[in-house]
């Protein structure tokens, strides 16, 4: 499963801190990170807290990633200014909402704008449209972030997550 592959990439890249705002699509990856004794998984009240967390961790010599859903990307906009002006390394793994298969129309506007918002604020966007492409994109993002202090986002397509209704989500 893509979540297991991504977790292995995080371990290989010596990521020790994982900030997250939950999404159903991230359920397994969050659980893998929580269960990993070499990692600290930090629940956030809003996504922008993850930018401060990642910046502070890097100042202290620790590698981190952030997990969120696409609606949370809207909460990052201003604080991404710090990432750009200080050239902090950043890896954000975003599960997409508002794409074909979405049952909630209120998710659509931010889903449609997610890639453009990230790019506008200087974050490179990698589109993982298939389950087998998620881990390779994450591996590349980790390398650029931690070896060249780049800001990278991997967008995991909604069809990879495959959630269609609250009922199905509740049954996961």
């Amino acid at each position: 499963m893509w979540s297991d592959e991504v977790h292995r990439e995080l371990v290989a890249a010596r990521v020790r801190l994982v900030g997250y705002v939950p999404d159903a699509g991230h359920k397994r990856l969050i659980e893998l990170c929580q269960a990993d004794k070499g990692m600290r998984a930090v629940p956030l009240t809003t996504e922008e807290e993850g930018i401060g967390l990642a910046a502070g961790a890097w100042l202290g010599g620790m590698r981190s990633v952030l997990l969120m859903q696409s609606s949370g990307v809207g909460n990052l906009v201003n604080v991404l200014g710090m990432v750009k002006v200080c050239r902090f390394p950043l890896v954000v793994i975003v599960t997409m909402r508002g794409e074909p298969g979405e049952f909630n129309p209120w998710q659509v506007p931010m889903g449609e704008a997610t890639a453009r918002v990230l790019e506008t604020m200087g974050v490179a966007v990698r589109q993982a449209g298939e389950a087998q492409t998620v881990a390779p994109h994450v591996r590349a993002a980790l390398r650029i972030a931690f070896q060249a202090q780049g800001a990278e986002a991997v967008l995991v397509a909604q069809k990879v997550i495959g959630i269609k209704s609250f009922q199905e989500q509740a049954n996961q």
């Binding site: 009240t45 809003t46 807290e49 401060g52 961790a57 890097w58 010599g61 201003n78 070896q147």
Partner: protein, 186 residues
């Protein structure tokens, strides 16, 4: 400054960034010029990465109010080595001295206590400061203090603007050679 020793310091944008610079600029200070609301979270990330070092976040009431949720996030993590100080003049000092929520009675120390900070104080008298200085260096965190100050305008002492410089000098001073970002075998 002499008493600061090995303390790692993060400052919120505005007056508290000028304050830590006026007290003596240091490579182990990270003053911010933006990212309003994130000073406490930068402190948390730093405290988690450096559990053997003491981390002090100094910020203003307006900056803290914008990141109120971070008090809950810190309360969950319980970093023993983190102290958070709000210099509370009840004003947005950089934008025309408009009243903040604390001017209307919002009690940040009570919020921090409710979020699980081990030691949370509202300090109104300078005589109470010495005991808090000791707690910053030796107490079990997370610690919080809202220090009420008068809203005066003092000469500004500005830190460097360059974010890359601020980041790199901090990492170099803290991490030495391992601060260098080098390619790895893959």
């Amino acid at each position: 400054m002499k008493e600061r020793k090995k303390l790692l310091v993060v400052a919120g944008l505005g007056s508290t960034s000028w304050d830590i610079t006026a007290a003596g600029d240091s490579d182990l200070s990270f003053p911010t010029w933006g990212a309003m609301g994130q000073a406490a979270m930068i402190g948390l990330g730093l405290a988690m990465a450096q559990p053997q070092r003491r981390v002090l976040v100094i910020t203003g009431d307006g900056e803290m109010l914008m990141g109120l949720g971070s008090l809950a996030t810190i309360g969950v993590q319980q970093p023993k080595n983190l102290a958070l100080v709000v210099i509370d003049n009840e004003r947005y000092g950089e934008t025309g001295m408009q009243a903040t929520h604390t001017a209307h009675g919002v009690d940040l120390a009570a919020v921090a206590a409710a979020c699980g900070f081990k030691d949370s104080r509202l300090i109104r008298k300078s005589a109470e400061l010495n005991d808090f200085y000791h707690a910053i260096r030796a107490g079990v965190g997370p610690l919080f203090a809202a220090i009420k100050v008068i809203d005066e305008k003092l000469p500004l002492v500005l830190p460097p603007h360059d974010g890359v410089l601020l980041k790199e000098r901090f990492r170099k001073a803290l991490l030495g050679k391992s601060a260098d970002v080098l390619p790895e075998e893959s």
